[in-house]
């Protein structure tokens, strides 16, 4: 039975869906990376994703436009980010607790809206795969990398883009300095509040897209609590990736591949209890965090509200 996993077709299938499943992790984790590099821990990613997933799905369903759905998810995510920014930057809230609050808010509101506006599970026709000319015809590789939908491509493009912004632009320099030593940044005329507002809203926007990628590009349905912890894993991936976009990419791929593997194990009916299979990504989260977090250093000002001392 296990040997069924090792046929070429199945392996290609596992890799292709692994590449695809990394999409929501990438959007959410890259957004979270910006936040954390500027010193803000957003534990509300899951809530932002759920609202984004719902907004995208509902708008796509009612207007028939997937792009309007994406826009709606971005707006909803940005709004959540704006509120989060106000609470953390202006009100100096304890970020761990307020993040959980935002998660529960997103969970509850997305469920409420779902019940009120839809009531039953429906499906949409999501973003179709785009075959990249020539590349998609390479055997194996073409199917794995070059026959994905637009949001998948976007997620992978986001990684070098995020790296570039963080490391090569004055904005990135400000973001990193605000996360490490806000007093120093402040003394040089960098507005700590403005930078953190920017990164939190950006994070919310990307979390919204992450949610949309689930509801109108990968699964093409909306269900209550459909993210089921994915947003929290996205936060963990930022630690795993040592606050670096390429590291986050590695983490996202690792998790999505394991996830894809467990899906295929179930599909093929391999006699491993499905509970164990489903547990695999989560167990991996814990193991990886235990191993990695002790050896890398978080941004010094992470979770610390900034206040000018007078």
């Amino acid at each position: 039975m296990i040997s069924e996993l090792f046929t070429v077709t199945v392996l290609i299938g596992i890799l292709a869906s692994g590449i695809r499943l990394a999409t929501p992790y990438l959007y959410a984790s890259i957004g979270e990376t910006f936040g954390q590099r500027s010193g803000v821990l957003n534990l509300g990613v899951e809530g932002q994703m759920l609202l984004g997933a719902f907004a995208a799905f509902y708008v796509a369903l009612t207007t028939g436009s997937l792009w309007l759905g994406i826009l709606a998810a971005m707006i909803v995510g940005a709004l959540m980010g704006l509120i989060m920014a106000f609470v953390t930057v202006n009100l100096h809230a304890q970020q761990g607790i307020s993040g959980i609050g935002f998660y529960l808010f997103g969970l509850g509101l997305s469920d409420l809206l779902f019940q009120k506006l839809m009531g039953t599970v429906e499906t949409v026709k999501g973003f179709p795969p785009i075959k990249i000319p020539w590349f998609s015809s390479i055997p194996g590789v073409g199917e794995i990398f070059f026959s994905q939908n637009i949001l998948v491509y976007g997620a992978y493009l986001l990684v070098p883009l995020a790296w570039f912004v963080l490391n090569k632009t004055t904005l990135g320099l400000k973001i990193r300095s605000v996360g490490e030593n806000p007093d120093a940044a402040d003394s040089l005329g960098v507005s700590v509040a403005r930078i953190r507002y920017f990164t939190i809203i950006l994070g919310g926007t990307l979390s919204g897209i992450a949610g949309a990628s689930l509801s109108i590009a990968l699964l093409n349905v909306f269900q209550q609590n459909m993210t089921s912890g994915l947003g929290f894993i996205a936060v963990a991936l930022v630690y795993f990736g040592a606050w670096r976009p390429w590291g986050v990419l590695g983490g996202a791929l690792l998790f999505s591949m394991v996830n894809s593997l467990q899906l295929w194990i179930q599909v093929l009916g391999i006699p491993i209890p499905s509970e164990i299979a489903v547990m695999m990504p989560y167990v991996l989260t814990i193991l990886v965090l235990v191993i990695t977090v002790s050896r890398v250093r978080a941004p010094s000002a992470l979770t610390k509200p900034f206040e000018r001392e007078d």
Partner: protein, 520 residues
């Protein structure tokens, strides 16, 4: 001084800045009371005062971080408004903060470029910034690698980055807020060379300090503040250390406290071939042997980072020995936990008082009983005896002259001197058999320093064995009966005080035995 109006960095010099009648009130405090202060191109003007005298307040006003309630600032004779640090930078005022304003995880060039517009728009232009950094650094012979990360640099190098940062932003006047507090003696010397050169080139420097010998050495004029008021301004050449100290404190200061004669008793603390590692995993202590007797102060002199911290931590049970034995009153206490050492009446005044000496967010009373809270004196079957603790705290506050609004005040809201008094009160009031005092007066003002030293001498008189670890040779010589010199984790020699001359100690501190020929 050159005739040109330009500084070597290309900046126009500031002929003079004058602060007139500056008054600043904080709730309940008059931090600055009609203070006049001025500084000219080509001079070092020292601003001297105890902690809380208003030095920093005055300078933060000049740097635009505070807004004065009264008074005005004149630049080259014309009134200016400095509403923010950006305004200050724009007129050529730079400030080197006591706690460096650097981002450790960024490179030198990134730290310098931070917050400035880039020639490449949204992209950073670190190559150009690096070139300019090297240019500026070369003017003063500073060695700085623009691509090095700040966390890799020594404290002295970080300070140079701060200076470069200010020069890069066009500073012609530098406010140096206690720049020597974090430097080793050698780094201070190097720093003074740079200051001399800058003054010659036409910069105006304001030097904030409470270290008298440095003020006397480096400054052209000196202004003394006390309790927010200006006591006076004089050319430095017309003052003495003693005058300045008396001005600062407002009474006669005793620099050489009376040590008195104390009979030396039995050996209290003994280290036998003690070795341990350090945080980097290399040897921290190598075969350390020493004895301290009852009624004796053993000074441990050395340049920072030569094993002093490891020595103190090892004796206090905070660091494991890799070999060797530690004896307290003849009993082997090697490897005992700090709690057991507490029970054997060892007291420890740690170097990092805010980190290791107390809990910042605890009240004065709670900090007072940290070490012995579990003793029957302060608790019964797990419940704190709040009334007894309060009485005890009141007694110690009075006895050790701790200035605190109440015993419920959080420790972090007190000044450094008062915090050290709390640590002293807690550690000394239990009549310990042996005391490890690590850098007990570092960062304290003259009044508090004097007090701490008297207390240590009292303990000696009482018969305690005291180990005084200090980087301040004056302090070592003023208090110790014998002086041990530590270098790279090794005790180079232990000298009776009368044989411990500065020259001899200096050589030992550099790792050279005076009997040997110093390497050419």
């Amino acid at each position: 001084m050159t005739d040109s109006n330009k500084l070597p960095s290309g900046q126009t010099r500031i002929d003079s800045i004058e602060m007139r009648g500056i008054t600043k009130r904080f709730p309940g405090v008059l931090a600055s009371d009609h203070v006049d202060f001025d500084v000219k191109s080509g001079e070092v003007h020292a601003l001297l005062g105890e902690n809380g005298a208003g030095k920093s307040t005055l300078m933060k006003i000049l740097y635009g971080m505070y807004h004065p309630d009264e008074g005005q600032i004149l630049l080259n004779g014309k009134p200016v408004s400095i509403a923010s640090p950006t305004d200050a930078i724009n007129i050529g005022v730079g400030m080197i903060h006591q706690h460096f304003m650097l981002v450790p995880s960024l490179t030198v060039a990134e730290n310098v470029a931070l917050g400035l517009p880039s020639s490449r728009g949204p992209l950073t232009d670190l190559d150009r910034v690096s070139k300019r950094i090297v240019e500026l650094a070369n003017i003063y012979g500073l060695k700085i690698d623009p691509s090095a990360y700040v966390w890799q640099l020594s404290v002295g190098q970080q300070q140079r980055v701060e200076i470069i940062k200010a020069l890069y932003r066009g500073a012609a006047l530098l406010i140096l807020d206690e720049p020597t507090a974090v430097l080793t003696p050698q780094e201070v010397d190097e720093f003074f060379v740079i200051m001399h050169q800058m003054v010659k080139d036409g910069y105006a420097l304001i030097f904030i300090s409470h270290k008298l010998h440095e003020v006397v050495e480096i400054s052209n004029r000196v202004t003394v503040l006390r309790n927010g008021k200006k006591i006076g301004t004089r050319p430095t050449s017309e003052t003495t250390k003693q005058d300045l100290a008396n001005w600062m404190v407002g009474r006669d200061v005793d620099f050489a406290p009376d040590r008195g004669k104390v009979d030396i008793g039995e050996v209290r603390l003994k280290l036998e071939n003690v070795c341990c590692g350090n945080d980097l995993g290399t040897p921290g202590l190598r075969e350390v042997c020493l004895e301290i007797h009852s009624g004796e102060i053993l000074g441990v002199a050395g340049v920072s980072g030569n094993g002093q911290r490891e020595l103190a931590d090892t004796i206090a049970g905070l660091r494991k020995t890799t070999s060797g034995r530690v004896y307290l009153e003849g009993r082997d206490v090697t490897g005992l936990a700090p709690g057991d050492l507490t029970d054997r009446m060892l007291s420890y005044i740690p170097e990092e008082r805010m980190r290791d000496g107390m809990i910042k967010d605890f009240t004065v009373a709670e900090n007072m009983i940290l070490r012995e809270h579990h003793k029957h004196q302060f608790s019964r079957s797990g419940f704190l005896k709040l009334k007894d603790i309060s009485t005890h705290t009141d007694k110690l506050i009075a006895q050790f002259h701790v200035k605190t609004p109440s015993q419920e005040t959080l420790a972090k809201n007190l000044s450094g001197g008062n915090i050290q008094k709390i640590v002293l009160a807690r550690e000394i009031s239990r009549n310990p058999r042996a005391i490890i005092a690590a850098q007990p007066t570092r960062g304290l003002d003259i009044g508090a320093t004097e007090y701490v030293r008297e207390q240590l001498l009292d303990q000696r008189k009482r018969g305690a064995a005291v180990m005084l670890i200090s980087e301040d040779l004056d302090e070592i010589l003023a208090l110790s009966d014998r002086v041990a010199v530590i270098y790279e984790g090794r005790i180079m020699d232990i000298l009776p005080r009368q044989n411990a001359t500065r020259e001899r100690l200096g050589l030992l501190m550099a790792g050279v035995h005076p009997e040997e020929k110093a390497p050419a």
